[in-house]
């Protein structure tokens, strides 16, 4: 649940993780606590690494509450792609750079969709760090790109190839060609495993 609240002379975004009746109470409480703390820590580490994210004003884990900087007028990357199509590739290349920077700091975002990237003036911000992984391995990092691609596939299938190219361009500009290739290779593995492609090799031959 998100609330726009007054915060001194400015406004802030209060994010309250509410109870989910479909979860066992003790699992639910532990999870909301962990995601609240993770979000605050991941944002701090992202900022330290040089990745823009809304500043954390206040954290209260027992209340599952976090208060964040409000970016007035910011728009979702998804909306901009909807509007501009392939010419939004410049922004996606910058997202690739941001992702590489985040990954170099050992952080995977865990929910890197076109709805969780905000464009504010000439700046890009990453939001929603609650599912982040602060000790991320290669696979966790590859899942970031995988989720970004799927958010495009389900809403803007016509620009997937362009945006993948742009993302990898930005990623290699920061982390080098080798890291970008390795990331893409792991994305391919994930997609073969997770039933994403028909051509997965199996022991069975197709002679029906």
């Amino acid at each position: 649940m998100l609330y726009l609240v007054p915060w001194g002379p400015r406004r802030a975004l209060a994010k309250l993780r509410v109870e989910k009746k479909y979860r066992h109470p003790s699992i639910d409480m532990a999870l909301r606590w962990r995601r609240t703390v993770t979000e605050a820590r991941a944002i701090r580490e992202a900022l330290e690494a040089g990745v823009a994210a809304p500043a954390v004003f206040f954290v209260d884990p027992p209340q599952y509450l976090i208060v964040l900087e409000y970016l007035a007028g910011a728009r979702k990357l998804a909306e901009i792609i909807e509007e501009k199509g392939a010419s939004a590739r410049v922004l996606v290349a910058r997202l690739g750079e941001m992702a590489a920077t985040l990954h170099e700091a050992g952080i995977a975002h865990g929910d890197m969709t076109t709805s969780n990237v905000l464009v504010h003036g000439s700046h890009l911000y990453l939001i929603d760090f609650g599912l982040a992984d602060l000790g991320a391995d290669t696979r966790d990092m590859a899942v970031d790109l995988h989720l970004f691609l799927r958010s495009l596939e389900s809403t803007h299938p016509e620009v997937v190839d362009t945006m993948l190219g742009a993302f990898l361009e930005g990623y290699s500009a920061r982390a080098g060609r080798e890291k970008a290739d390795a990331l893409m290779e792991t994305v391919r593995e994930i997609r073969l495993m997770g039933r994403y492609r028909e051509e997965r090799r199996t022991a069975w031959r197709e002679h029906a």
């Binding site: 009746k21 479909y22 699992i27 865990g110 969709t113 899942v143 799927r150 039933r195 492609r197 199996t202």
Partner: protein, 365 residues
């Protein structure tokens, strides 16, 4: 033979008063047609008969292969299907009150599924279509689960959570196909429960008295054992949960072990419901459908209902017989496909083990 089959049949799941034509604006249901459908993608062999007039589903009979030890061996499942097929075909026709000459087309699930099992259904359907000179209709198994769910719950445009032994998927319809918003990154929900049950020595049998053995074991636990809960975007990952649960099971004294069952079951179900919730929030749909074999679980249904209610959406699912694999769902989508002119030459009807839901164009929705 180290196997026993479990047979069942069921009346039509279509609720009285449901405007079926309204669910399928693109289908010409005023054309009279009767289709026989064959399901054999995994451990169930099913035969169903569907018609373009009420009660729409005229018959559904099935026989499920259950191994006496271990999991499903694809070749043993195939041998089971070959054994039960002739009897189920005549039983389905008898239940529908029809003879084979009344059938206008034969439909078959060509995938996704286990190769050897799929090939049994494909071979039989090709033979029937060629011998009786009737059209052969290809059906995607995942699409059939969604459509029998939509028909049973009378839902026009739901967000779908499809959970079974081999699939865990969040999907919704947009631009002529079901788009997949999330799925499992590794193990499917049904497979998570079955693999745990087998490796912990609780199964087979996997289901007793209508309850999964993991549900049964969980009933004796006061509190869940802490285990990893992994959601990434709208995807879930269950491999870490499975490993951690099996480790805890091996380490703990017998009296504490039900806590592992409860932890596994609660986290597995909750994570699946959470990604469906994210899909519901993302798409803004007013209906939420739960379908697939695991949709027979009363515990999962209750969680799903609570989730949908929190978003003001109506939750629904097919009756247990139609939640699991069955021939009626293949016959139903076969009928819709036939009316839309989707047929295949018997010689071209090859099985597709990894036929993706989002690869299928759906003209009749």
């Amino acid at each position: 033979m180290a196997s026993a089959g479990t047979r069942s049949s069921s009346p039509s799941p279509v609720p009285a008063g449901c405007d079926v034509q309204g669910l399928y604006p693109g289908a010409k249901l005023d054309r009279e047609a009767v289709v026989l459908g064959i399901e054999s993608t995994a451990h169930t062999f099913g035969v169903g008969v569907a018609a373009s007039r009420p009660p729409y589903i005229l018959a559904s009979v099935k026989d499920t292969y259950s191994p006496s030890s271990g999991g499903i061996h694809p070749r043993e499942a195939a041998a089971h299907h070959v054994r039960v097929a002739p009897r189920l075909l005549s039983e389905a026709l008898r239940t529908a009150g029809l003879s084979i000459s009344d059938i206008d087309a034969f439909a078959v699930a060509l995938g996704p599924g286990l190769g050897p099992a799929l090939r049994v259904g494909a071979t039989i359907a090709r033979g029937l279509a060629a011998y009786y000179r009737k059209p052969l209709v290809p059906v995607n198994h995942a699409l059939a689960h969604i459509e029998i769910g939509r028909l049973s719950a009378c839902m026009a445009d739901p967000l779908v959570l499809y959970v079974s032994g081999g699939n865990t998927m969040v999907a919704a319809f947009a631009k002529r196909r079901y788009r997949v918003f999330g799925e499992t990154l590794d193990v499917a929900l049904g497979n998570l429960l079955d693999t745990f049950a087998r490796d912990a020595g609780l199964a087979p049998p996997y289901v007793s008295g209508g309850l999964h053995v993991v549900d049964r074991c969980a009933m004796r636990a006061p509190e869940p054992w802490p285990l990893p809960y992994t959601v990434k975007g709208m995807d879930v990952s269950f491999s870490g949960l499975l490993t951690a649960a099996l480790r805890a099971w091996a380490r703990l004294p017998a009296a504490e072990r039900p806590r592992v069952c409860l932890g596994l079951r609660e986290i597995g179900y909750s994570a699946a419901v959470e990604v469906a919730e994210r899909g519901l929030a993302h798409t803004g749909k007013a209906e939420a459908l739960l379908t697939g074999g695991v949709a027979a679980s009363p515990v999962l249904r209750e969680k799903y209902r609570a989730m949908a209610a929190a978003h003001g959406a109506r939750a629904g699912w097919p009756p247990a017989h139609y939640a699991g694999d069955n021939g009626a769902m293949i016959a139903w989508v076969g009928l819709l496909n036939l009316l839309a002119g989707i047929v295949v030459e018997p010689g071209d009807a090859v099985v597709r083990q990894r036929w993706r839901l989002d690869a299928v164009e759906v003209p009749w929705r």
